[in-house]
Symmetry: C3
Subunit: 132 residues, 3 copies
């Protein structure tokens, strides 16, 4: 099991971590299986989306923030309930398949760490499992 540091620089940010997932696979030496990617936080998640036009990431964060603003009748005193909900909507894990030592991703796909309450130093846990 590997743990990687992910540094966010804004309150909300989609950070490409595809290279970390590939690095974990390389370190494991496994050729076929699945990379379990897990975010051990409650105001950050992980998703997959387009790797080409950065406007897609901007639009995803923009629309989530528009519908789930930071203030909206919440009770939680820390003022980040929006981030907790957004993290649950994106999810806390991704299972990325591996074939011939490479991640099985579509041409336009990248894996994104989803920061919703940064900037912070975060962790991404990856455990690689081999199977035929």
């Amino acid at each position: 099991m590997e743990a990687y540091a992910v540094e966010s620089r804004q309150r909300e940010e989609l950070i490409d971590v595809t290279h970390l997932v590939q690095e974990a696979v390389n370190t494991s030496g496994r050729q076929s299986g699945v990379a379990h990617c897990f975010v051990p936080h409650t105001t950050a998640g992980i998703t997959i989306n387009e790797n080409a036009d950065p406007d897609v990431r901007r639009d995803i964060l923009y629309k989530l923030a528009k519908e789930i603003p930071q203030s909206d009748g919440y009770h939680h005193a820390e003022g980040n309930s929006d981030a907790h909900l957004k993290a649950s909507l994106m999810g806390f894990s991704q299972q990325v398949l591996i074939e011939k030592g490479r991640l099985v991703l579509g041409t336009w796909q990248a894996v994104y760490f989803c920061e919703f309450d940064g900037p912070r130093r975060r962790r991404l846990i990856i455990k690689v499992q081999a199977f035929d």
Copy 2:
């Protein structure tokens, strides 16, 4: 494979089931791997979120209900389309990693069964898989 009963007492409720996941791991005797947690329903899901302040759970359910009310031009005659959508948004499974026989969760994380159309008696299925 283990199946646990989960009893909900309200229409919408986030029920901490972390101890059930740990129990399934203990029963399996596995030290390293993943616990596949699966909800075999269509109006209930499963997520991860904060284990400390109960207001976080309240705020998540409050905001989901505010944006996805029970009545909103739906066609489905049972009157619970909101619950079907909320369940898909949270997801029907969580994969929790295991190291040294313990769940790999962040300090503030718990696993929550998400009831959206209770109160009901529900089931949570957990299958533990070992790997190095």
Copy 3:
């Protein structure tokens, strides 16, 4: 690893692919384990929901479209940012457990490929993993 073609006929559509998941399990000959189902696109996802009343699928797509319309201040020039967000909300993978060669699904559950930017010819990747 198997790749199946999925043909969508509308811009937004939930397509039952449960039989493809079962077919992949049959092809693998595995009796116990998990079927990793993965969508290698960025404007389509995969979820689980009710297999009985088609109004549930209609209501899910209706409500997602109502809250996340195709135009809403997005920057991405392709005009399908709504589809990118909806795909991330549903998720790009489902892990379906297998027991005695059959999918472990609830009575009312089916697996749905979620098209959000069709009609198109899409791919669904399924990799079956055996374990006790």
